[in-house]
């Protein structure tokens, strides 16, 4: 008798074993037309169009989001900069203050920066889901400690020699005359403060910073005095928060952002950096206040290499790219895995970078070529330069510039069959994990936690089973508490990519091995399943049919819209009603076949992005 524990994940909110298996998702979905715009449940509907059809025809779902102009979402209160945004802000500020010694000063502060807590992904309220790190708005003592310590370390380095002080402040910072120190500091603050503090500095604030040089604060040489000034400057609110000045009022709670505030919001969002020279010039000249001037800056920044890194961040965290990338050599010492690996070309080095490159490369390609969501979903080209990862596709490595090679074989369907989605680096595949990822990340469905005791389920059998058979036996037997969700919502999505082995290679047969790596039995792979996507419960044959249903259902576009909104607004989760206008704008555009680039652009061209709305 073999006991086969397996990870159980996910039950849909409200679903349980009593759900009618004939229409399992109907018990929990609000369904097309049932979804009220004011409803607070994200993505309650699992189907598109008329559910219950059995012929496999996909009926596109109605738009998930609706705009109710009477409802206006409130911006997050005083957003803090993400860690990377803070680092970039500091770096650029130091470079503006002291171009020649910035590198040394930043190196001096590196140990303190290491104390700054990393941002964590803030997930929406769905079991197994993950969110964006820039949504981490937590303020902590550790963070404040690090901010101040970093400012201090940088400042002390910059002010440590007479030569450096002179370069930053002028000769007055090294003349031995304490009487002019405040004036000396004020000159610097007035000159660079507006830019370094992104236009948030008031006259009063400038005086406060300069007063750090006041001899009345205690004894100390000029190195100490001017380090105090720089510390005070580099620890201002603009280094912690996105302080946004408001321009013309639109209502009691809503106002246009000022030019410099809009420039900061736009720049941090698209590049993770404060405004560059061109954007700053546009902001201060008033050009950004015009539609054409603003759009010109948006277009420029979208083409900027820094924006590509931010888009990578978006796709990475949305689609679990790095989270899902595994080192396929990690388990090679496990005989059963080694036996699986030896069935085909097996990597000998860490495959994670190559897997990540492939997935993010696909996203970059889609963005850069003006592709829409369908193209992104169905693009099968191989975008890795890692020959060993490419070999998993049966392809040559990409050279990084020419047309990406096509995979060998016939089973690849696009995004969800990339090695980054199918490979798990274990001795057998895990349809449950694959299903949860597709359900929550790609379709943005909401799952609730498994019922108590679900994780203790075991399969009592002496039979040698395939990966799918194990999952079926464990979660889909009559009477199981797991049945309702696993059979309909989770497992089928995983079964449909079972024709890819644990290394992400195509397969038509699966061999089960014992713990010593001895082959026990070989199975024909069975992929067919009803994925409950696209308003039909008809069985799909494989990943290609699943991809087609996803692409035709409108669900991927709705998910993209929600994710992009979260990323842009730095919210863990949208309010479908209050945020409906911004969300529906994105969804409509994506559903219309517009390019990913257009959707990205729309996210910042939106009036909602350009206004600041606060709670009363």
């Amino acid at each position: 008798m073999r006991r086969l524990p397996i990870l159980l994940l996910g039950t849909l909110a409200g679903c349980d074993a009593a759900i009618d298996v004939a229409e399992p998702w109907r018990a929990v979905e609000m369904g097309p037309g049932n979804s009220s715009a004011g409803g607070g449940q994200p993505f309650p509907g699992l189907g598109g169009g008329t559910a219950g059809g059995g012929d496999g025809a996909v009926t596109p779902a109605p738009l998930r989001f609706k705009c109710d102009p009477a409802r206006t979402a409130v911006d997050l209160p005083l957003r803090r900069l993400s860690k990377v945004q803070y680092q970039n802000t500091l770096r650029l500020a130091v470079q503006q203050l002291a171009p020649a010694t910035a590198t040394a000063a930043l190196a001096a502060a590196a140990p303190k920066l290491a104390l700054y807590p990393d941002d964590v992904e803030v997930a929406p309220n769905s079991f197994g889901a993950h969110g964006f790190t820039r949504s981490d708005q937590q303020l902590s003592q550790q963070q404040a400690d690090a901010l101040f310590a970093v400012a201090r370390a940088v400042a002390e380095s910059l002010a440590s020699t007479a030569q450096q002080r002179t370069a930053i402040f002028g000769a007055c910072a090294s003349d031995g005359n304490a009487a002019n120190d405040v004036t000396c500091a004020r000159t610097l603050v007035d000159r660079l403060g507006p830019r370094v503090l992104r236009g948030t500095m008031t006259t009063e604030q400038a005086a406060l910073i300069a007063s750090a040089a006041d001899a009345a604060r205690g004894d100390g040489g000029e190195a100490v005095v001017f380090a105090d000034v720089l510390t005070a400057l580099l620890a201002q609110p603009a280094f912690t928060f996105l302080v946004e000045g408001r321009g013309a009022a639109l209502s009691d709670t809503s106002a246009q952002l000022t030019g410099v505030a809009l420039a900061s919001r736009l720049s941090f969002h698209l590049t993770n950096e404060p405004p560059d020279d061109a954007l700053w010039a546009a902001a201060t000249s008033g050009a950004l206040d015009t539609e054409a001037g603003y759009e010109a800056q948006v277009d420029r920044l979208l083409a900027d290499v820094r924006a590509q890194a931010v888009r990578d961040e978006f796709f990475d965290q949305w689609l679990w790219v790095r989270r899902g990338a595994v080192d396929l050599t990690d388990q090679l010492t496990v005989p059963a895995y080694r036996a699986v690996a030896m069935e085909g070309p097996a990597p000998t080095h860490d495959t994670r970078p190559g897997i990540v490159e492939d997935l993010l490369g696909a996203a970059r390609h889609a963005f850069d070529t003006g592709a829409g969501t369908r193209d992104f979903l169905t693009d099968t080209a191989v975008y890795t330069r890692d020959a060993q990862v490419a070999a998993l596709y049966g392809a040559q490595p990409w050279d990084g510039s020419a047309t990406a090679p096509a995979p060998a074989g016939t089973r690849r369907a696009g995004l969800i069959t990339r090695v980054g989605f199918t490979a798990n680096g274990r001795f057998e595949t895990n349809p449950i994990k694959k299903g949860v990822r597709l359900r929550t990340a790609v379709l943005c469905d909401v799952l609730s936690a498994p019922p108590p005791g679900a994780a203790n389920s075991t399969l009592q059998t002496t039979d040698v089973l395939s990966s799918r058979q194990k999952v079926e036996g464990l979660t889909e037997v009559s009477g199981s508490v797991c049945l309702g969700c696993h059979r309909t919502l989770i497992n089928p999505l995983g079964y449909l990519t079972e024709d890819f082995d644990p290394l992400g290679r195509e397969r038509s047969r699966e061999t089960a091995y014992d713990d010593q790596g001895k082959a026990l039995k070989t199975f024909d792979v069975k992929t067919a399943a009803s994925p409950h996507v696209g308003g039909t419960e008809a069985v799909a044959a494989d990943a290609k049919e699943l991809t087609e249903r996803i692409a035709s259902s409108g669900r991927f576009e709705a998910c993209l819209s929600a994710q992009l909104f979260r990323f842009t607004a730095q919210k863990a989760e949208e309010d479908p009603a209050a945020d409906g206008c911004r969300l529906s704008e994105l969804e409509t555009l994506a559903r219309s076949g517009k390019s990913l680039k257009d959707v990205f652009k729309a996210s910042v061209m939106s009036q909602g992005f350009r206004h600041r709305v606060t709670a009363p």
């Binding site: 190196a107 002390e156 007479a162 040489g221 408001r246």
Partner: protein, 521 residues
Amino acid sequence: MKARDLPDVIAQQGTPLSRRWLLKGAGGALLAIPVLPSLLSEAQAQTAAANRKIFLAYCFPNSTIRGDAYCPSGLPVAEVKDYAGFSIRRTQLKGSASGGVMRVSDVLSTSSGLLTDALIAKANVIRGCDYSGSWTHNSMHLGNFGVGQGFSRPDYYRRSIDQVLADSPSFYPSFGGTRRSVLFGSGPYEGTPSYASRNGSIVGLGSEQVKSAYQLYSQLFGGFVPGAPTAKPRKSVVDLVSESFKKLRGDARLSSGDKLRLDQHVEHLAEIERRQQVVGTLSCPGKPSAPADLQPAGEAAGSASHVATLRSYEDVLVAALQCNLTRVAVCYTNYNLFSFGDTADWHHQIEHFAAGDPLAQGKAVEAARKVVSEVVVPLAAKLDAITDTDGKTLLDRSLIFPVSEMGEPDHGISGRVFVTFGGADGAVRTGNFLDYRNLGSTPRDGVRFGLTIQQLYGSILQAMGVPRSEWGESTNQGYGARPLASDVYGGSGSGPTVGSVAAHPDAVWAVAGEKLPWFGV
């Protein structure tokens, strides 16, 4: 010329300093000391909160006594640890009192009213941190292994550790006292162990050496205005930063949610400010009465007289420490301290025979006991009797570091033992006998090598709040130069002859930048 007009060169002595000093070579060129400006700021940042640590060293010549004389015996080993390729040991110090005498070891033995259990708990005995280089008289007590009596190795020239401290922007982020360091002693001064003295090609800075308590008083309290502190500690800018956030909070355009976020950050800033203010502040008792202006005692005065002289220095020093006039002091004791009147040439009649002559050995042990137990212990007790506003004593802030010129046997340099007092403001763990010797190795002339003095001095500097970035080496993370592979230790009456690699293999140097186990917190 004003001090602040001098770019990076300070050569005058005795002037209250308000800026960082750099050392200047004797020829006028700046010495290439291993300090990177970019790293100094890190050092300063690490001690942004006030550094109030005190380093007090006692340097005494010779003391060629057996190492066991310093160490406790018969106590159970508390911990054994594999380190640098061999086993090291920690034993908890414990004294035994009998007949009014508290005894930890032959050297650490004095009145039980002075050497209490509480004071023993604030002491360490450290064995097995070897001098690893060539040796000569009159040098190397506190580092700089490049110069001594008739000996010069320019490639080994370094600032001694008291020089590093006195010059450190981390140790003195803002100096407001009267002397960055003081050097005083009994009898004529011959060595080059400290900040004030010429140290190889490094020009000594700070205070000139003084020969009497009166001179020390004049140096420290000469410019001191009674009733007014000489330095006003500079206020941290946290309050200004916090004020900026509060001003922003007053912006009418901010929502209540925005203000809550600002409040949260302001609370965190307040916590930073509160922590910076936790540092205790001693109250300065004011300007003490000047000691008698006596001529330094001569050779014939005998050891009792010199012990009394050293104790009179301590009264001045303790008062100055309370008033924060300095935080580095080095006492250099001369041969005459050990003259008991029964020999005219202590060095050649006692030291050179101490290894093989029990009578000479006994006298050498007693000389070391006098320094440690009748000079150093009373100072430790005095400092421990002064409590700060935060409940810590002045001793708790301090590290008292007696260091002899030689170890065992004869003029050996590797077998020295250090008896320290004080916790360096929490940076040093105390109450232990730390034996870092490789007891599994084959002894050479009775000496087993262990770790290096480079590691000990590096640990001390780190304990005093001065990071490696201010003194570290490119090839050795400990303090000071690593000997060349071709260097030979000892010989010619200065301990066992052994190649540097055989004495201290790579595994030992690999840890030389670490804080000594069980010592540095």
